[in-house]
């Protein structure tokens, strides 16, 4: 059997457990373990990527229990893509935090590893209840990470975040319970077949379960009525934590895509599932609200938090179109927006460190010591995020607009998306001119940017440039991934093949 597939969960879990045991060890050793573990995750994600390109679906049955009875891990293009983004982001966060942010509280690296174990598990699992368990692992790690560093703001933000997510977890169990009660299985592929063949009398219950799951994933992804925890939490979190949280909303979006395309969309197709029809108006409203929030933000972290909301709205509105090209464009935007929002959280921290008490608030303050290099990075990052050429934001936005035009949905998506993009441009230029051009006459502070931290941020901005330079192969890959999502029967066939083989083996 191919044991590679369990490693993305096992390695961070073991590293995290070891870090808890040796918490008195010198910080340098903890950082080394954390970095080695995250670097290994990148390597494994790349190896899995190669396998998936050949075999489409890689399966792992835990304890050799054949599906649908045992716990199943499935890697397909979508989950490997998510693994790759997560592990790359984790390396950047571990490196950035290793320059001092991990000293502000206990167990930073252990929590980071547990969070990664939960996120990777959520991407790989082929079982709905396991998805719930992985969500809980990543959530409890994120609660503690959000509080990392302490302080009043983090405490306030955490209360909302924790209580809301606990209610979300309760609804998740209700949704899973209804599905189990109706179909008698929790394996996603098996569920898909049984939901497709369910008698008409069970349909209302199944619809109720799907809508409950939409609410649960909507809380994670920050869909409109459920997003008010996000700006405060992301603003309060310490920089590397906020950067890592850039992937957290995408976990919710991944879960939506997986559950609604596979479990509820096997027979009828993704777009005609009841829950998916709710997505289009809600996503557009999220996008509009994000645009307004960006204009209202008074500091760069808060602005970035609203950019996360804009990215969720854009992404879900694109995915809601449901065609192959739309899903491909959405996935490209997912990679781009995750990278750029994480970059901006780190950049806000770098800027705040050079401005003394003014921090990253949009007020006039003394000049920064490294204003040239920070200004250049900020300028490039702002261009990339706002969707101006030549960076990845431009490509993804043009692709999304084109897809919306082709499917005849431009009436709503074009104006809202373009105006939101324009508002981001205004907000970023306003912030940038306050930070870099309008300086008070006071003597500049003498603090220099930490070269390693600066290097991480520059590498991430270069990642956006690389994404636009390698756009053609990336876009081809995204379209292939979208093909796989639009044809969930292959996923079901792959799982059934393993089940049949296990029966033959007995």
């Amino acid at each position: 059997m191919n044991h590679l597939l369990i490693l993305p969960v096992l390695i961070p879990l073991l590293a995290g457990a070891f870090l808890v045991v040796v918490f008195v060890a010198p910080l340098a050793l903890q950082r080394l373990i954390s970095l080695v573990s995250t670097a290994l995750l990148v390597l494994i994600a790349l190896l899995l990527f190669r396998q998936v390109m050949v075999g489409n679906h890689v399966l792992y049955t835990l304890g050799n229990w054949s599906p649908p009875f045992g716990i199943l891990l499935v890697a397909d293009r979508l989950s490997v893509l998510m693994l790759l983004i997560t592990s790359a982001l984790a390396v950047f966060c571990a490196m950035y935090a290793g320059r001092g942010d991990d000293r502000k509280g206990a167990h930073f690296h252990a929590l980071l590893q547990f969070q990664l174990a939960g996120i990777n598990g959520a991407f790989l699992t082929g079982d709905l209840f396991n998805l719930f368990v992985c969500f809980e692992i990543l959530l409890i790690a994120s609660y503690a990470l959000l509080l990392h560093g302490g302080g009043v703001a983090r405490c306030r933000a955490s209360l909302h975040y924790v209580i809301l997510n606990l209610v979300g977890s309760a609804m998740f169990i209700i949704g899973v319970g209804i599905l189990y009660g109706v179909t008698g299985t929790l394996n996603m592929a098996d569920l898909a077949v049984r939901v497709a063949n369910a008698p008409a009398g069970d349909q209302p219950l199944l619809t109720a379960a799907s809508l409950l799951l939409l609410v649960v994933f909507g809380v994670k992804a920050a869909l409109l009525p459920l997003l008010f925890w996000l700006p405060r939490a992301y603003t309060a979190a310490s920089a590397p934590v906020a950067a890592l949280f850039a992937i957290m909303t995408k976990v919710g979006i991944y879960a939506m895509l997986r559950v609604f395309s596979l479990i509820f969309g096997l027979e009828t197709g993704l777009v005609s599932t009841t829950a998916w029809q709710w997505l289009w108006p809600l996503a557009l409203a999220t996008l509009a609200l994000g645009g307004i929030g960006v204009l209202g933000a008074t500091n760069l972290r808060n602005l970035t938090a609203y950019m996360v909301i804009v990215s969720t709205g854009t992404l879900l509105a694109t995915l809601a179109l449901g065609t192959r090209e739309a899903i491909g464009a959405g996935l490209f935007y997912l990679v781009h927006s995750t990278l750029m929002t994480a970059t901006f959280f780190l950049l806000a921290d770098l800027i705040a460190r050079q401005r003394g008490v003014a921090a990253d608030h949009m007020v006039v303050a003394a000049a920064m010591k490294d204003h040239r290099i920070l200004g250049s990075v900020y300028f490039i990052g702002a261009i990339a995020f706002a969707g101006l050429p030549p960076f990845s934001g431009f490509i993804s936005k043009v692709w999304i607009l084109q897809v919306a035009g082709e499917t005849g949905n431009q009436t709503w998506l074009w104006p809202i998306l373009l105006v939101a993009g324009f508002m981001i441009l205004i907000a970023l230029s306003r912030a940038g001119s306050k930070f870099f051009w309008r300086q008070s006459g006071a003597r500049p502070h003498q603090w220099r940017a930490d070269p390693a931290r600066l290097g991480v941020v520059i590498a991430m901005v270069l990642g956006s440039a690389a994404l636009s330079m390698a756009a053609t192969p990336v876009m081809t890959f995204m379209l292939d991934t979208a093909d796989a999502i639009s044809a969930p029967q292959h996923y079901v066939e792959a799982v059934e093949a393993v089940a049949l083989r296990a029966m033959g083996g007995l």
Partner: protein
Amino acid sequence: MEALFAAALGMLTFCGVYLLLRARTFPVILGLTLISHAVNLFLFGMGRLALEAPPIIGEGSRQADPLPQALVLTAIVIGFAMTAFVVVLSLRAAVELRNDHVDGVDPDEDWRP
């Protein structure tokens, strides 16, 4: 038995939601606990309610579905950990924010920045 079970679940959820909306950390924690009780019982009930049916083959004339019982066990453990965390968090919030409102600001009190 189903009607009684459903009524109990409804009552638990009703009380849980009411306490949750009190927006003070202690009632909210109690509310979350009640909701998680209701949810665990609901998950248990999804294996169908049956008397004298142990989840082991050969122990009785009928068998209960063992899977929801295992799921409930997992959910209880997770719920227990989460409750412990939220209790500690609310204690910390009460110390740092000087009040027990979930927004961190007490609307009934004069609040000075």
